[in-house]
Assembly symmetry: D2
Homo-oligomer: 433 residues x 4
């Protein structure tokens, strides 16, 4: 046991009226909702990078956090893992997620980086064996080191493509070894800073081929998890190829991957792309590519990715409603790709930020589940489209334009608008929240 979280107790469910800051008020892993334990619905994961690797810098300021594991040795990497699993235990989360670069020191060569990764993967494997938390997903950090500055699979330099291939292979191997439920690709540098120096078509072709080869490798090694793309419109790139769910879908169709790859949707990224979180989830569900979520909000005022912990359950309830309508997660989960503010210096801040986020999600899930079970909203939705069940309606979907047009004239069709009842449906939501 390290002493980083000393004096912080394990967080337990104490119910809504608890006045204990170090307790769950809403998240009771054992509570059964719609026939499933809350823990199995929510499948919470802690992000290794934000909680253990981020030093607290921003574009105008440097490190604010003092963490005993900061540094570049394997010994410190193991200390970091020790503290991480202590936090997972305190929170009782079933999952975590990590990039290679979060967990191991960079080596002087690819081979050395790989050895470091393999050593830390073994260590994480031992940790998993003796603790509750398992791996929700692994991923490769192909955006921080300067070699990636112009892209990974879409880099103008084929050596970088090669390095990316080797990197993803190593991270997929690591994820497989650790029994990860998914493997995620976020292409933070797969895009451009300026069109003036970019061959859009070639880069897109390289990205498509790269993703095909990742899927092929998954089958080769027998990895059973899902391959997920995390869309984001921009930042750090001016434009990122995986802009949003609909863009990713068109890309997958083009490369024959729409049955092989799903999406990991982050709320903050949805907002940056001009969508609501629930829109992106509903779109992915409609297109058959919903996978998992990164649960972290942006500040609505800023135009960048603030990766804050969720704290408005009313807002999240609509998102969980769409997840439940989509049938819930299969391999996916609720990953807190969230960081405490850089002024939140204390170990308590790290723990309590997660506690607040977990309680927010639990409240949201419960509200969503009650509303779905009660069926009032779905009944209203069905009623709005009920005309399509009337005789002759669906037949139009196979008729040519001129046949329909003739009927319009003959029957003097003159459709009358009916209320969309938006405010009443919004009020309905507020009964459940």
């Amino acid at each position: 046991m390290t002493d980083f979280f000393k004096n912080i107790p394990q967080i337990k469910y104490e119910g809504e009226n608890s006045t204990n800051e170090f307790a769950f008020r809403h998240y009771d892993p054992e509570e059964v909702i719609l026939g499933k334990r809350m823990e199995d619905h929510l499948r919470f994961a802690v992000a290794y990078w934000h909680s253990f690797a981020w030093p607290g810098g921003d574009p105008f300021g440097g490190q604010t956090f003092d963490r005993p594991w900061f540094g570049d040795s394997m010994a410190l990497a193991k200390l970091k893992a020790d503290v991480a699993f202590e936090m997972f235990d305190i929170l009782g989360v079933p999952f975590y997620a990590f990039h290679d670069a979060d967990a191991r020191p960079e080596g002087a060569t690819f081979a050395e980086s790989l050895r470091n990764l393999e050593e830390i993967v073994d260590y994480l494997g031992e940790k998993q064996a003796s603790h509750k938390a398992k791996l929700l997903w692994g991923t490769a950090n192909m955006f921080s080191h300067k070699r990636w500055m112009s892209g990974a699979a879409t880099n103008p330099d084929p050596e970088v493509y090669a390095y990316a291939a080797a990197t993803v292979k190593s991270c997929l191997d690591a994820t497989h070894k650790l029994g990860g439920a998914n493997y995620v690709l976020w292409g933070g540098r797969e895009g451009y800073e300026t069109l003036l120096n970019t061959d859009l078509k070639a880069e897109r072709a390289h990205a498509g081929r790269f993703l095909q080869s990742v899927v092929e490798y998954k089958y080769k090694i027998g990895f059973k998890g899902a391959i997920l793309i995390e869309p984001k419109p921009q930042e750090p790139s001016k434009h990122q190829y995986d802009y949003d769910v609909a863009t990713v879908y068109g890309f997958l169709k083009d490369f024959g991957l729409e049955k092989e790859v799903q999406v990991n949707i982050e709320q903050g990224h949805a907002i940056l792309a001009g969508h609501s979180f629930e829109h992106e989830i509903a779109t992915a569900a409609a297109l058959g590519i919903f996978g998992s979520i990164d649960m972290n909000r942006n500040d609505y005022q800023s135009g960048w990715d603030t990766d804050q912990f969720p704290n408005n359950h009313a807002e999240k309830a609509v998102a969980f409603y769409e997840i439940l309508r989509a049938g819930g997660y299969t391999t996916g989960g609720t990953n807190f790709d969230a960081k405490v503010r850089r002024q939140s210096l204390d170990p308590e801040d790290l723990i309590l930020a997660h506690v607040g986020g977990m309680d927010t999600c639990a409240r949201a899930l419960k509200a969503a589940a009650y509303l779905l079970e009660d069926d009032t909203l779905e009944a209203a939705r069905r009623a709005r489209y009920a005309g399509w069940e009337r005789e002759g309606a669906k037949a139009m979907l196979t008729q040519p334009l001129e046949v329909i047009a003739e009927a319009v004239v003959k029957n003097n069709i003159n459709p009358q608008p009916r209320s969309g009842r938006q405010e009443r449906l919004e009020n309905l939501w507020n009964h459940y929240i």
Copy 2:
């Protein structure tokens, strides 16, 4: 001759040093650029709706324009057409574009609206026969009347689907009769105000089928023009299904239409979707669906569609560069989907706004053509990707991950970043502008 534009002369090219406000300084239709007349490159079109049908209102204020043709009779509709063709003559534009609702009064029934449309189409046909301007594209206004408030092809009410089918048939017939070069669909209400009352999946399916039936009808009547979708992310809808070029592409792929339908890209819509105009053009070109453009800018400060005339040739030059790289227009053109500000009350404002827009585009086209001909920028681009021409590079695109990974380790590949030279390329542009 009406007397609306009395005293306004025909606009002629007088060269850069002209001090005549009523002259082109840059647009010389006969000037040959890259082997083609400037008129044939730019293929300018005037939008009937903004210049002749819009009364000058905004969400906080009513009509500001006094136009002698405002009103609902066929006689006034013909007066409007007379004035419109007088403006086309004054400007010397080769094209115009219109919606059914711009050109004919709404009838009490669909049949009456149709008769009105047919009568005005005949009148426009006579106009075309005796004037230069031809039809770049026709389209259906399926967003202004209250019947469309919840969508056209995606309406929850199948009667509206039927009415939309009849409407598009009538507009495609009209476009065909007038020899239109394209037919455009902009789905301003094909989206939603709130997910709470929306069946996203069903609406998307209806939209897809509807578009298939439009394409089928085009072949049936022998219309040779292109079918174009105009993407827009939102406004008036909170979310519009044709969000941007990449979204439309995924949609077309899903319904087997990616070879049949292209896009009409509007600068303002690109910006609202978080893209640059040139990005959307380059993306459409890379995906093989570039069709035409709506040349009108937003104000960068506002978050809505201001439909202003272009007036910054430096900015437009990058867009025309991408159009030229894509091979230029085939059936498409440069449509001014732009309106004078509601305080610009005078006939002179209408004319001079177009003159300024046409000169801006002409300057932009010339700068783009010189730079493309000179090849400096393209040479820099090719140099940046030259590594992919080296031995073994392209082979990687067929190799499995593990083979590439092995080579990385064996050859100790350690890619070194090279400058992206963005500022130098930006300076290069400024030589040409």
Copy 3:
């Protein structure tokens, strides 16, 4: 009694568990909170314009609402007033607010418009006498008619300045006659479309003088209410002079009005200006100019003013917390400057949108009051600044730089950062919501 709201009962408080859509679940006017009745805390007002004068149009579509009182006669204006007071009764709201143009038909001359206004004001006065609802504020619509297209008090044409003066006089007279608690000025066209044709300095001077004359007139007629400016950054103007609270403050200081004029803060306008609602309220309170609020939200995705009813009590609670910290309203109130969506066609939609908004505010107020009473958040805030209570700290605020600098060197001052605890404070909020 008209039959517009027939079959809709008066809305009563039935408590949280009521399943009656036509009941308050949270708003109990009689409940005492922090020593004051909830009705007296919230001081709800209905906006005449959105509920009774708006036809449902948007920039891409026309009227969707069928209201029996639409039209331009005095008889219809009185029918409108009848229905309005029926709605005020159904909701039990203590206040309403109106513009001249909402309530009376425009005349052919100013004199005729004035007579119409006087007649309808008499009628409204009778209504007030026999119903509960009183006037929270009156205001002049100086943005819809085309005479205002280039501004009212800031118009380049002095005749418009004159017309504005006459208009505000008439509206202040009307407000005084009806016993209004406040008079509001929103300068929707007091700004510009383009700097190119604008004399910023002269327009600002005219606006300042105009406001002075309004304050002088208030004293002359003995109006006891407050004069309020409603800030907004843009829309319909590209730039509006009353951009936000801080801008209005500088303007008031310049014209010696900072003790005479306060602000009416609208959530949607705060967001358009890049602020949170609570920021604007807290800023106004800190500057001593907090007056009243317009309670209506924007959609965070759109960049324009959507004037939606509030439906997220968690979000509003922070705003009410700042209002309570500022001591609550004196003459001000909570005005729903909100409209049902244009697809919400039914009389029920109008009523239930207000019911939802009132319940949302009531929940928010209660949460805010509990947290304030409990003092946990304020105690944390005081603790954060406690250093300023230590010896010598406040003295620095009168010391010259060099004296402080000397002490820093001499005492080797080396301040150590302390956690800002943002997430813990956010969790704290969630206990109360």
Copy 4:
């Protein structure tokens, strides 16, 4: 001479048709415009921080630049200064600007940091003596070190206030010693991350007092330069107190400093605040507080501060027009608070980015000067307001409301709108660009 810029020649003016990348095409320091040398109009300054201290990191990636002077010793700080002055010589710029933290290594104590600063200031003084470049302004970096994470003068901890006082004193001393023309304060952390832990009113009072003490100290030491505040709405803070020009003005009025302090306006910050650059300049001029500018653009697509070099002269011309209308700079200048993109690795990129920016500004200045000299735009502006010169118009500005109202009725005033001619004025601009 270091060898960092070896092989890069001094940049000279070669005229518009030069094909030499390392030449000015538009910036001829000796060209006389409106009676003043171009160099004296533009007063270009290079920013020490972006060109010499920034390592190329962004929120998702680390250092990309290899610079021989990176490190923490005094020797490296002097090497940095050597290279900086070599760049100033190559560009021929008359000015530079710097923060303490750009120029000297941080010490273990304030005293040590101060000694380092004093030593490097002496070194810079020697450099200035033997080179052309002088100091446009000095400033204190009170945002990067973690001690400033919660603010400098507005920090909850009075020790940080003290440290800030000592820091600004030292930087003002340094600026005075180096003969700086101005001293700038940018309060990047003078704001908040969350209102929940913030005492807005107290922090504003501390900021006001702090600024007063800076002004007092300026007089004490006899510093003749201007004190400038650089507004910014947010980033890194969620809200910054110096939001925009109008906000700063209200703040200055409150603390009696509106005659003592002016603004340094950055284009990027103007845009983030929802304004155009020219708006902020025109506002400052109208309020009598225009000082200087930071000439660097944002990307219109991103919502953060990208600090890019200007490259659109059409856009900048409007800004320079407002500067010329305001009488040009007195102590101020055109500071490139701009950085090359992190992929622009080469010394050539640093030089050519500045060359492009300088040429862009020179073209913009020339266009603005011609248009101003020609008076066409100003004549149009005067004509628009000419009504205020008619008899009786200005008298209204001293009349009470009721007198004006009486005249409106008596004379049946009915103002008729006149065209604002926006597009014609935009066309006019394009003649000059």
